[in-house]
Amino acid sequence: MSRLPVPLILGAVLSSVFLAMALLSFVWTPHDVEQLVISQRLQPASAEFLLGTDQFGRDLLSMLMVGARVSLAVALVAVGIGVIIGVPLGLAAAATRGSLLDEVIMRGNDLIFAFPSLVIAILITAVFGPSAFNAILAIGIFNIPVFARVARGGALSLWTLDYILAARVAGKGKARISAEHILPNIANLLIVQATIQFSLGILAEAALSYVGLSVQPPTPSWGRMLSDAQTMIYTHPMLAVLPGLAIVLMVLGLNLMGDGLRDMLDPRLRRVRQ
């Protein structure tokens, strides 16, 4: 067993820190994030408020913790939507290669790719109103074609292999082969893609909540913290710097982890690199 790649370790550590913060926020935060205490507004960092407070007197560290939870939850569910709908579609397309079904699935995918995702997110929220649920929906829809494409690509190359032929000779149907033999063998590809989509989801959620189209107050989110901080940037720049740093470190951690996983799981790439 060779040593784990450095980016993988670094990425896993960074992601775990934020995951721990998010999980901890369910049971404990240093201060209540929904209570506005004007007398404590804009406090500098101190023993009581480790990162200081914002213009409404809320503890910045507590807000960052709850923000991590929001952003991880939205991205996670959005990836879930992509996997649950996209992967079966991709598998079906590969199993019936060249058929009308394959054609319809792939054309449909092209179409979703042609839409700028943010524009659709705006359209959805314009009609149904801004909420975390609609943000998840808007981000999740665009994960479907991504996973369908990855699953189809991976599955197509497997369908030509001898052991799949053996399974067909043994009398297994296409659906069963896809579930029992194809899916476990493309799991690597899907895990790597899931990490990438997860980090993209976090960036998308941040952008949506920055323009007020995601989670609504009083629940804090990283994007909203940034838009709240915008008017304070002349006097209290740290309010704008910290939530942004949280986004960057979280996304960086996930990307490093995705790259590391790909290097580790894909023997072809490992060979090319040497």
Binding site: A114, V119, N255
Partner: protein, 314 residues
């Protein structure tokens, strides 16, 4: 080649039809009556009726869809309910902010990414390569609107070289360009990071080809071979990404306009949302999707010209 273009044109029109149907349907599924939705809860019945007639809501769904499309084709995007002026007029004003912003960012991102990607590929596996790749990882992780805020913090708040936002109008071209500079840098940097990575891997792939060995064998230096043969062949995947980036830049512009208080299409859409001006939202969305689909089409054509093999495959 003509067959290829016709094929792409067919799929372009199909995409546009489906896209317009999707947008129309989404706006249609608003619970209740769009006129009542736009006017809010306290509107009286007579006003709602008047707006219904104004918006042409009396016809069937199919009639309304066809009227909307026919109008769009003729440049009539409907009338904004809140501004009481044709949407086309509103769009025309704001397009002159959003479009230059997207184009300027595209130019910046390409100008940054090309030398950086080239440098990384030429020094593959050495310190410069690792440094550049690490930098691009960071660039990809930075949300462009936050980078915009940092730029404001450094160049407007601390150094006072730029104003923190706003747009003076094109009557003073230099001032206008200056006010678009920080936003376009903010938009361009994350895209440049992605583009530099694509550039690097495309170059590394072409460097492994047999014709590169031939080029070296006939006496070209590494540098000459890289610039004359590898660069040209690596351009195809790079061109694809540049095309895709246009759609990101256009959408990114919507967000960045909020950071820098630029009166562009993005601001128009958000005003449309907050003021329930659905005609504006519907038409501007369609316009953005139209722009993206057309750019994708142009990129397809461009690389069919660059790579004859693609024409046959289609």
């Amino acid at each position: 080649m003509l067959r290829y273009i016709l094929g792409r044109l067919l799929s372009l029109s199909l995409s546009l039809i489906v896209a317009s149907l999707v947008i129309f349907t989404v706006i249609e599924v608003i619970p209740g009556d769009p006129a009542a939705f736009m006017l809010g809860l306290n509107a009286d019945e007579a006003t709602v009726q008047a707006l219904r007639a104004d918006l042409g809501l009396d016809g069937s769904k199919a009639e309304r869809y066809l009227a909307w499309i026919a109008g769009m084709i003729q440049g009539d995007f409907g009338t904004s309910y809140t501004y009481r002026v044709p949407v086309a007029e509103l769009v025309a004003d704001r397009l002159w902010v959003s479009l230059p912003l997207a184009v300027l960012s595209l130019i910046l991102s390409t100008v940054i990414a090309f030398p950086v990607g080239l440098l990384a590929a030429a020094n593959r596996g050495r310190a410069a390569d690792y440094g550049i790749m690490g930098g691009t990882q960071l660039g990809i992780a930075i949300p462009n609107f936050w980078f915009g805020m940092l730029l404001v913090l450094v160049f407007a708040v601390n150094l006072r070289w730029f104003s923190a936002g706003g747009f003076p109008g094109w009557e003073e071209p230099l001032l206008a360009l200056k006010s678009l500079l920080l936003p376009s840098v903010a938009l361009a940097l994350p895209q440049a990071a992605i583009l530099a990575r694509v550039m690097r891997s495309a170059l590394i792939e072409t460097l492994a080809q047999d014709y590169m060995r031939t080029a070296r064998a006939k006496g070209l230096s590494r540098r000459q071979a890289l610039l004359r043969h590898a660069l040209r062949n690596a351009l195809i995947p790079v061109l694809t990404i540049i095309g895709l980036q246009f759609s990101f830049l256009l959408a990114g512009a919507i967000i960045i306009e909020n950071v820098f208080f630029l009166p562009g299409l993005g601001r128009l859409i958000f005003q449309g949302i907050t003021q329930r001006d659905l005609v504006v939202v519907e038409s501007v969305t369609m316009l953005l999707v139209f722009a993206v689909i057309v750019v994708t089409f142009l990129v397809d054509i461009a690389y069919a010209i660059a790579d004859p093999r693609l024409r046959r495959r289609a």
